[in-house]
Amino acid sequence: MKKLSARRRHPLAALVVLLLALACTGGLYAVFAPASKAQADETAQSLTIEEGKKLYAVGCASCHGTGGQGTTDGPSLVGVGAAAVDFQVATGRMPAATSQAAQLPKKKAVYTQAEIDQMAAYIASLGAGPAVPTEEQYGPEGADIAKGGELFRNNCAQCHNFTGKGGALTHGKYAPDLEGVDPKHIYQAMLTGPQNMPSFPDGSLSEQNKKDIIAYVKTVNGDETVSPGGLSLGGLGPVSEGLFAWIFGLGGMIAVAAWVAARTAKARKS
């Protein structure tokens, strides 16, 4: 973000922006978010928004309203920001088959990333909201894993379990397993609070905090995570451990006991 804004302050940029701004009609300008959206690639941006609007009209408007104002079947999208759109559509939660389910599960995404970006741009144009985070924000560089662990236990573990294996909420809702979730999407989820998850805006959980948390989740809940003791048994704690002890531990011993106590084969079958 900072690099981008630094480039924006380049002397020539101002000229380009001015020229392009003049070339555009005032009416088109009005649908844009305020001044910060004034960018060098405004035309491209407007085209993106146009494309996004078309996609929206086909795939989303039936529930969220033609202007994103929301209907009885879906909430208003004004002000939810690009981050929310990117999260919901890229994780396949949107478009949803029904609004009646307790919770929308993660699925295969229906749209390509380019299409998602177009829709995100369109929704962002409806009202200011959290932008899609950059790699720099959610990447592992400069993250304090241990601090992330502490923050995770304070803010996240109550729903998502110690290492993000997920957990139950009321009436069939649940906090999903975080394994394999794109760091960008974890960041967006914290930022926007999808479905029943509360949001953790920067005033509550700073950018650095979020980075730390993502680094921790990726360390303790990934494909490469080492489980020193052996099978992690789902990382669910004593319930799965108890089942394992009964079935394999005691079960194995009883099988052995049956062998110890069984009669040895007789020479003559009686």
Partner: protein
Amino acid sequence: MSTTTSTTNPSGADGPGRSRGKAPAGERVADWADGRLGIYSLAKANMRKIFPDHWSFMLGEICLYSFIIIILTGVYLTLFFHPSMNEVVYHGSYVPMQGQLMSEAYKSTLDISFDVRGGLLIRQLHHWAALIFVAGMFVHMMRVFFTGAFRKPREVNWLFGFLLLVLGMFTGFTGYSLPDDLLSGTGIRFTQGAVLSMPIVGTYLSMFIFGGEFPGDDFIARFYSIHILLLPGIMLGLVVAHLILVFYHKHTQFAGPGKTNKNVVGMPLLPVYMAKAGGFFFLVFGVLCVVSAVASINPIWNIGPYRPDMVSTGAQPDWYMGFSEGLIRVMPGWEINFWGHTLVLGVFIPLMIFGLVLGSIALYPFIESWVTGDKREHHILDRPRNAPTRTAFGVAWITLYFLLLVGGGNDLWATHFNLSINAITWFIRIGFFVGPVVAFIVTKRICLGLQRRDKDKVLHGRESGIIKRLPHGEFIEVHEPLSQEQLHTLTAHEQYKPAEIGPLVDENGVERKVKPLEKLRVKLSKGYYGEESQIPKPTVEEYKEITSGHGHH
């Protein structure tokens, strides 16, 4: 140890007829010991003692051996564990904890897991052995229950076993609380809440247990001495007493040819049982080692150090405390306020039921012996089907227990079977009352069905699977008559007659008042042994009548 040998002359060891000096070294050592300890008298009674072979008789051994393994590994762990709640900053080798504040107890557990070679293995062995120890006791107790092995003269040993189960649960609880991790700390917090709920004394008890307000700085050190000294010390004594009684009473056996209430059939302690039981120790130990090598248990590094303001979902106790977790989860939140006091029924009632569920195990043998009025010794085991009411009670109890276990894990069942946590809770609430009743009825019917089948087998023989066509075209299945061994085994069980209320007038013609307790006993006895509760076993007359007509079909 054994009074049957106490008549042996204690001075016998020094008596004449022994050639000393020339005997081999081993014998000389034995002589030396006998002169001081009288070991020959003990050995005479026990060296060739007979033990019956049956896989279910080895369940107790699983417990004994896991107990020994727990003690061995536990001693090792005490060498490295620091039972202290002093806060320290972690700088060990586990990266995701670097710089975190934690208690010394938690830190030393991390060190055992990551820096002591083999420390993790011993920790996992200790914990897996503990889970299997209690599970083994549970199954062992079920075996004793369903076969009626708790009857006279073994009621006291049943109580010893019961105490071992309860103490085992609490030793386990104090043990998994020691690492001071976020999960066990949550369990301690629950315990503290339960203590607080006790009327009148709750707050005082809580202050005394924790040395002030929760969590304080004391409970780890206090739990430590309870966990490694007090409870295991009592348990060790009980285990020894339990084993002495097993030797003294001699093992029970299932009915069969040559097996009577006055003998015990099997193989001698030396050498067969020594090799089998001794070998089984190594087998149990080996299985536990492999389990500890391949499966992680209580990965406290994932769980994090305890903070009373943090928590994780899926917060459950180890399995043996799971039914109390279920009780507390499904209980509605009742609370009564009166005269400036609060009665926390929502916590206190589960606490009471917890005691009742366990206590009912302890009492059962005495209830049954009161109902039967039978004061004889019983060494022949019942087949569960031949004691339908007892079996039904047992299954009802287990049903209740497992329903509560499910209730204790309601959040995990919800996420893994896509259910609503509220629906599961309601299911358990209803199941708590309905489940045991249904289980009772169903079990009793199954038992009676099996009894009928046994009777059929005795009277008509075993279905051979061979189909024969009779001259007039009818197909019949040939039934093979049973051998005398099988006939005996299937008819060896006793059948009680329901008790009756005695004459209502005494010998002087004065009307006698029937005490309510006696009425209850008669009622229970009807329930146990009435027509609805057992199928009369075949009599010799019935058998002869049918077999004599066998040739004619």
